[in-house]
Amino acid sequence: MAEFLIRRVAISVVTLFVISLIVFTGVRMIPGDPARVMGGTDADAAGLAEIRQKYGLDDPVPLQYLRWIGLALRGDLGESIRTRESVVWTVARKLPITIELAALSLLIALAIAIPAGVFSAARRNTVWDLLANAVSLCGLSVPSFWLGIMLILFLSVRLQWLPASGFVPLWESPLANLQRMIMPAFVLGAGLAAVLMRQTRNSMIEILSADYIRTAWSKGLAGRAVIFRHAFRNGLIPVVTILGLQTGALMGGAVVTEQIFVVPGFGRLIVEAVFTRDYPLVQGVVLITASAYVFINLLVDLSYSLLNPRIRIGGAAGGG
């Protein structure tokens, strides 16, 4: 167990190191004077000199990297060109909104996918199974931003049930917040629900044909008891892994969803940063997102190994 833990953490550290190298190199590839890139077009000579001094831009490149990563590890990712606020602070302020959106969409996805997946596995090859599969295939194929636009068209423009866009902080009015978050959360959760439903169905089918389940049936246990007490818990293990891998898609999806519904979160921040050529902000957001993804998947892998002792012994070998 300890060996697996150390090995898994070591791989994550190496991955984070390579990520930082990629991000560092990426910003250096933007044409022009790096000090100008970090300081923006309206930075004056003194401002540029300060940036040059802070990041040691006259030093050899490896030294520049060490200086930059040292600052980053202490939580200094530079400041936004547009607002002159620290990048970490800017991100920290936007993050709760996106986390709320992601949490809501995760709830919606799980609430749809798990029951639908278990049900269609239990009623395999019936009309219901076919229907659930068709719906999940549509969920996989529908572009999220079009789904969002169609929801606005029908629920906001036509029926006027929900506001089309905007944001009200949760602490100001939970109801108004939910009214504005429910559509984006559904749009963000729909694709995830489709992936999770397929995974739940597949792993339930595999488990339901296992010997110990057949034993449970033959002992005369009722159908529901077999499905829930015996199959469900084991069937969920692969679903947890997929969930970890899907957090990346969730972060990417938040960019589009927040753009459509004008939710002022992390995703909208990155699009604005790209358009205003706010490179320090783009760099910070990309670095934070990738690191978060590595951490989440490390946690998922560790929890997975707790759920399934077999993985600790041989399954995780190979690393690739």
Partner: protein, 280 residues
């Protein structure tokens, strides 16, 4: 012999009508993309200020947009952009990913470690965030969006190819080729590659629709195709501003993306069943 096995393949294919329909619709879109100049004769970029945001009529079956351009023409021409971005980006991912995966899987050791750690790090960037980051560096255009999507999709192919090489190398026929004195490169090209090609093809049917959606998203955000070139993503971005007065502007481009990606997925599912007998 060959004819009868082909007959069997056809029979198995016909038992999966959704896959056949999916492949048919994909083919239909290919025809649209290639035949755009003959199918959509109205100039997709010509504005007509007398016909701004008109509902569908016989002359403009999908209506007109905010500049009086024919939406039908723009949807048909947009097929070209989407197909181009989807296919070329995945070809790029295959061109980089498959050789890298072959090297990692067959060489092992330090090269394998180097390639795989780089792949892990690359995979840690969410697909869309990575594509956005790359477009920021390279600038917004269809070509750059295609390259960015291709680079973002590359690690999947490295991992897949490496995994396939590792499992294929244990097979008897590869061992036999080795024992007969075939060299490393020859074994890989003559024996391993042909046997993993089908799995790569199945992966491509999954990646191409994902790439098509990614291009539409980048263009929707203003980071891909630039106006006035018609693309489904930019059309939807404009359409969102006119949902109350011209809802038809948002129906057709979205419906086009949806039906194309759905068909790719249906065809891909069918192909997977055909090539992999494991039944779910």
């Amino acid at each position: 012999m060959a004819a009868s096995s082909r007959g069997r393949l056809w029979r198995r294919l016909w038992r999966r009508p959704p896959a056949v329909v999916g492949a048919g619709v994909v083919l239909f879109f290919v025809v649209l993309a290639v035949g755009a100049p003959w199918i959509a004769t109205a100039d997709p970029q010509r504005s007509d200020y007398g016909k701004i945001r008109k509902a569908p009529t016989a002359a403009n079956p999908f209506g007109t947009d905010d500049l009086g351009r024919d939406t039908f023409s723009r949807v048909v021409w947009g097929t070209r952009v989407s197909m181009q971005a989807g296919v070329f980006s995945i070809l790029l991912a295959i061109a980089i990913g498959v050789p890298a995966g072959l090297v990692a899987g067959s060489q092992r050791g330090a090269i394998d470690q180097l390639i795989m750690r780089l792949t892990d790090a690359w995979l840690a960037f969410p697909f869309l965030i990575l594509a956005i980051g790359l477009v920021t560096i390279m600038g917004a255009s269809l070509t750059n969006a295609t390259v960015a999507i291709g680079l973002a999709a590359t690690p999947t192919y490295i991992r897949l190819t490496r995994g396939l090489v590792l499992s294929t190398q244990e097979e008897d026929y590869v061992q036999a080729a080795r024992a007969l004195g075939a060299g490393g490169l020859r074994t890989i090209l003559r024996h391993v590659l042909p046997n993993i090609a089908s799995a790569l093809l199945v992966q491509a049917t999954v990646s191409i629709p994902a790439a098509i959606i990614a291009e539409a998203i980048l263009s929707f955000l203003g980071l891909g195709v630039q106006p006035p070139t018609p693309s489904w993503g930019t059309m939807l971005a404009t359409a969102q501003q006119f949902l109350e007065t011209a809802p038809w502007m948002s129906w057709w481009p979205g419906l086009a993306i949806f039906s194309l990606t759905l068909s790719f997925n249906l065809a891909g599912d069918g192909l997977r069943d055909l090539l992999d007998p494991k039944d779910y």
